[in-house]
């Protein structure tokens, strides 16, 4: 009798936990592939280059990116422990500013890598976290890019991208921590916003430059030691 009840309990608990652990239907690799393909399609659209439709294209890009990337998780991980002491308003503002910064710097650079073959080499899943390993293969180079995902509302969402060992989150954490150690979250927000303004100003500048000195560049990609180029 006791035995029966025990078995019933065990089965019940197992059923419950099975429901709780229910894996999303789409695998992490499929999610990353969908995301990468969607973003490359939008970014390769000539509309992206056209100043008239630029705002619209950027809005489209952002809406698509938010379907696959959980920017709140990206921001939270990049900020680290000080995140817990921030007001929800500050968390929202920081996330919003950070999205804009990433949009202007990293997201827009994707087409430079878009022409290459993307090979999905490996997938590791543990609990609610996963890593998807890809290789961008160029003629003479191979760039290893790792996507880190977490299940959010029963769906895999990207929260970090690691290119050639360099984690986006870790990279920003190293920058944010200094600002937050010396100042307040408001300072960080201000610095991010200033950076965005600077990029926008510089963008206009380089676009006019590109028009005056039109030159075609070979499709050769940067080496893996870009930071040693000087």
């Amino acid at each position: 009798m006791v035995c029966n009840r025990l078995i019933f309990c065990i089965v019940f608990v197992l059923l419950l936990s099975a429901a709780a652990f229910a894996a999303p239907e789409v695998t992490p690799t499929q999610r990353v592939k969908q995301g990468v393909d969607t973003l490359i399609t939008i970014l390769s659209d000539p509309k992206m280059q056209d100043p008239a439709g630029h705002d619209e294209a950027v809005a489209e890009l952002r809406a698509a990116a938010e379907k696959f990337i959980d920017f709140r998780l990206v921001t939270m991980s990049s900020v680290g422990r000080p995140w817990l002491e921030m007001s929800p308003k500050m968390q929202d503002d920081l996330t919003e500013a950070f999205i804009k910064l990433l949009e202007r710097s990293y997201l827009k650079k994707i087409p430079a890598y878009g022409g290459q073959d993307v090979e999905y080499t490996k997938e590791l899943v543990q609990g609610t976290k996963a890593k998807v390993f890809t290789e961008l293969v160029d003629k003479d180079k191979k760039i290893v890019v790792e996507f880190r995902l977490k299940t959010v509302d029963n769906q895999w969402m990207i929260y970090d991208v690691v290119a050639e060992g360099v984690s986006l989150v870790s990279n920003y954490r190293s920058q944010f921590s200094q600002v937050l150690a010396d100042g307040t979250p408001e300072d960080l927000l201000k610095i991010i916003r200033e950076r965005i303004e600077k990029i926008d100003a510089g963008q206009a500048e380089s676009e006019t430059q590109a028009e005056s000195g039109a030159q075609t560049e070979s499709g050769t990609q940067a080496g893996s030691q870009g930071e040693q180029k000087q």
């Binding site: 202007r104 190293s174 200094q178 080496g223 180029k229």
Partner: protein, 276 residues
């Protein structure tokens, strides 16, 4: 003399090939343990399943907790000066020079020049491949070097470029003695930024000096100025082929603190190279 050198290399590689295949098997094994290590990196991932957003914070925080102490930087003031000097040189001198050069010379000849310099640094890659036990990569490098030096007109033409897939080594080829030292378990020491040369560390600087002994350019009958000119030309040529999708610019453009961003990226990138 050169014949004897090449024959010697060939013999050495043939002898080492047997060992190489044994290594290929063992490197498979190490790759497996790597996966396990990466999985165990994600500690506590399952525990936070039912938790609300902030409750699984610790889990994420753990994952990046090493960021704060990646490398010691006691000379930060000095490094910062040279970092911004280099950054200004990049934007003010080297990038415009590379742009002008790219405008004047078509991409093809510039690729030949790059190939020539790459081919010339074969000894650095070969010796470090051997030291790191990457015998398959050493074999590939030797084959490429012989083919490109002879049929490829002293390395200007990379005749093996399209064949690469056929002899791709198990792991990427070695890139220098700093990497070998890292593989031997030696840490960076402290972070250093050199004028013109960029980010480094004590370990990587020692690596550069060691690599210079294997660089044919060091043994050329050149004055110091000529040596510098050739190095500068090599770098401008390289940069001219990387004006778009350039990692340095992508990284620093989106950064709110360029210095911290490059330091973090440099250390992470070197760690990845040491691991492979």
């Amino acid at each position: 003399m050169i014949h004897r050198f090449v024959t010697g290399l060939l013999l050495a590689t043939l002898l080492l090939l047997g060992a190489g295949s044994a290594l290929a098997a063992s490197s498979d094994g190490s790759d497996g343990s790597n996966q396990v290590a990466q999985l165990s990196d994600m500690r506590g991932a399952g525990a936070a399943v039912d938790a609300a957003n902030t409750d699984d914070f610790d889990d994420f925080d753990d994952e990046y907790s090493d960021t704060a102490h990646l490398v010691a930087d006691p000379l930060k003031g000095w490094n910062t000066v040279w970092f911004y000097f280099n950054d200004a040189m990049y934007h003010g001198v080297f990038k415009p020079a590379a742009k002008g050069y790219a405008w004047a010379i078509p991409a093809k000849p510039r690729q030949w020049v790059r190939n020539f310099f790459t081919n010339m640094l074969f000894p650095v890659r070969f010796v470090n491949d051997i030291l790191q036990g990457k015998f398959d990569a050493a074999y590939m490098e030797t084959s490429k070097f012989i083919a490109n030096t002879s049929w490829g007109l002293l390395g200007f033409v990379d005749v093996t470029a399209d064949m690469k897939r056929n002899w791709e080594p198990e792991r990427p080829t070695a890139d220098g003695f700093g990497q070998t030292l890292g593989k031997a378990g030696i840490g960076h020491g402290i972070y250093l930024v050199w004028p013109f040369l960029g980010p480094s560390s004590i370990r990587e600087s020692v690596g550069w000096v060691a690599d210079a002994y294997l660089d044919p350019l060091t043994y050329g009958d050149l004055s110091f100025i000529e040596f510098l000119a050739i190095r500068a030309y090599k770098n401008v040529n390289q940069l001219s082929l990387e004006l778009k999708g350039n990692e340095y610019e992508t990284l620093t453009e989106g950064a709110i603190d360029k210095y911290a961003a490059v330091r973090n990226a440099y250390i992470r990138f070197r760690a990845k190279k040491v691991k492979e």
